[in-house]
């Protein structure tokens, strides 16, 4: 006796456009939120490392928003916050804000650890060369800290994409919302949610690959084919410079 219809795996291929559109929405929300979270997180990290009143506020923020689940965050932003400030966010905007609130808190901690890991001699050397403290931070401390932070930021990005799955509650047409819609038509939950899971896993692999590539490029010296291609012109220019200056030596 067969209660359920046979698994129709062909459904996935038939509805590939809808599923991939959902994935694209999830990636867009996450990517925008990632950029904002890095910016806000960096500012929070600096505040947390500054003098007491500000550092306390930053610590309070970090500890609150690290503890809030994405589902609660997005409902709060979409239905609650918009009432208070009188602006109705789109589902996309609400998703970006919800993720940024949470992940800026995590990234603040990642950056704080990374900035603390830079030896103080680096800053002193920059200052001793007559550079403005802000310039020392931008050109000396921050690039080195970012290199340390990159792998962890990659993990955060994977987490963000997964957290978009809860945004179905506000009606954002991301992967889970698309899957739910398809399921109400076909009633094939195993097939459709397997497809959804596969998409999330595929994206996790993709993000890992991308961040590894970035890590390699940021090595000193840069490693890998991407880095070779990016730095090729510079290498040739410096090579020519060395030859020219070394030739002028004999004069």
């Amino acid at each position: 006796m067969k209660i359920f219809a046979a698994y129709d795996w062909g459904l996935i291929w038939e509805n590939r456009t809808a599923l991939l559109d959902g994935l694209l929405v999830a990636l867009e929300v996450s990517a925008v939120a990632l950029v904002l979270s890095v910016g806000v997180g960096l500012i929070l990290a600096l505040l947390r490392m500054s003098a007491p009143p500000l550092s306390w506020l930053a610590a309070l923020y970090v500890n609150i928003f690290r503890g809030v689940p994405a589902l609660v965050s997005v409902i709060w932003v979409y239905f609650g916050l918009s009432l208070v400030i009188g602006v109705q966010f789109s589902t996309f905007q609400a998703g970006v804000i919800a993720l940024t609130l949470l992940y800026s808190a995590f990234i603040a901690e990642i950056y704080r650890a990374a900035l603390t890991a830079i030896p103080k001699g680096q800053r002193e050397a920059g200052l001793a060369l007559g550079m403005h403290p802000v310039r020392v931070f931008v050109s000396v401390t921050l690039p080195q800290a970012t290199k340390i932070a990159i792998p962890n930021i990659g993990s955060m990005f994977i987490g963000m994409v997964k957290d978009t799955s809860t945004f179905t509650v506000i009606g954002l047409t991301e992967v889970v919302r698309v899957t739910q819609n398809l399921n109400s038509t076909y009633f094939q939950p195993f097939v459709l949610y397997t497809a959804a899971a596969a998409l999330y896993v595929a994206v996790a692999f993709l993000i890992d690959f991308l961040f590894r590539a970035v890590e390699k490029v940021m090595e000193s010296p840069p490693r890998g084919r991407v880095a070779q291609a990016i730095t090729g012109r510079k290498r040739r220019r410096i090579g020519a410079l060395i030859e020219r200056v070394s030739a002028s030596q004999s004069a």
């Binding site: 001699g121 001793a128 080195q144 010296p221 410079l241």
Partner: protein, 277 residues
């Protein structure tokens, strides 16, 4: 990918003169570059400098030595305000940067002071994410406001001067400690400082690499650069020191001109010198 052999290439580059610096450095007898009077520095309750007076004349090579914890590095670091003195007057090129005697006299900004003062650190402190060349072009572009190509050209000449032109595209981790320290010296020199500070520049080096760094410092000294050197290399100190300063417990015990190592009077100084030399 071209695999370079750093050791072999290093031999090809000779240490050459420091171009452009002879003109920039103040000549002997043109007045004091650094004047410190009554410099005090405390960390909490602990006073590490207890009222130090030191004057560095233009073109003079001052060497400071003494036991660990004597305050010699702290004294050096107050000259470019990496350590803010708690009290006392710090004048560099006639401008007040310390507390001074008259509170109405406007104090110079640390950024301005540091443009006239170069510094070399014990731990080299090259920027590890930048190549040797970029380590030099960064301050040239950001401090001296020299444009890209010209900055690279100047940086290349600075590297040539310390015998490391062939290492221009190398990152610090690809170089030996001695080579890194030579790049650090080139980096500081490329900004045409009026005085160079050396904070135990050979203390972190393998013994066999000390010589190459001292050779470069000797060249810098010969170019007429005003120098203040904190060092444990008393042989080198004796050789280049126009003024030798022995410090202990945050104060200058004794100082003197050339011949100090043979003519010093204080028994503590004599004991220290005989123990080290």
């Amino acid at each position: 990918m071209d695999k370079q052999q750093p050791a072999a290439v290093a031999m090809a580059d000779e240490v050459t003169g420091i171009p452009g610096l002879d003109a920039a450095a103040p000549r002997p007898g043109t007045g004091a570059v650094v004047e410190m009077t009554g410099i005090r520095k405390s960390f909490g309750d602990h006073e590490v400098l207890c009222g130090v007076d030191l004057t560095v004349e233009a073109g003079e090579h001052v060497v400071i030595f003494g036991p660990s914890g004597s305050g010699k590095s702290t004294l050096l670091r107050t000259i470019n305000l990496l350590e803010e003195p708690t009290a006392g007057s710090l004048k560099v090129l006639g401008r007040e940067y310390g507390h001074g005697k008259d509170p109405d006299v406007p104090r110079g900004k640390p950024v301005e002071l540091r443009r006239a003062v170069g510094m070399v650190f014990q731990q080299f402190n090259l920027f590890p994410h930048l190549t040797a060349l970029e380590n030099i072009t960064l301050p040239l572009k950001r401090v001296a406001k020299i444009k890209g190509r010209e900055a690279e050209e100047r940086a290349a000449h600075a590297l040539r001067a310390v015998g490391l032109l062939r290492h221009a595209a190398h990152f610090p981790r690809e170089m030996s400690g001695g080579q890194q320290q030579r790049v650090a010296i080139a980096r500081a020199l490329s900004l045409d400082p009026k005085v160079m500070l050396f904070d135990e520049p050979t203390s972190a080096l393998d013994p066999e690499l000390v010589g190459e760094v001292l050779a470069v410092m000797r060249k810098v000294a010969e170019s007429g650069m005003t120098m203040v050197v904190v060092t444990h290399e008393l042989g080198f100190a004796r050789e280049i020191g126009d003024l030798s300063v022995f410090m202990e417990d945050g104060a200058i015990v004794e100082s003197g001109p050339r011949g100090f190592f043979d003519n010093c009077q204080n028994p503590r100084t004599k004991k220290f010198i005989s123990a080290v030399l």
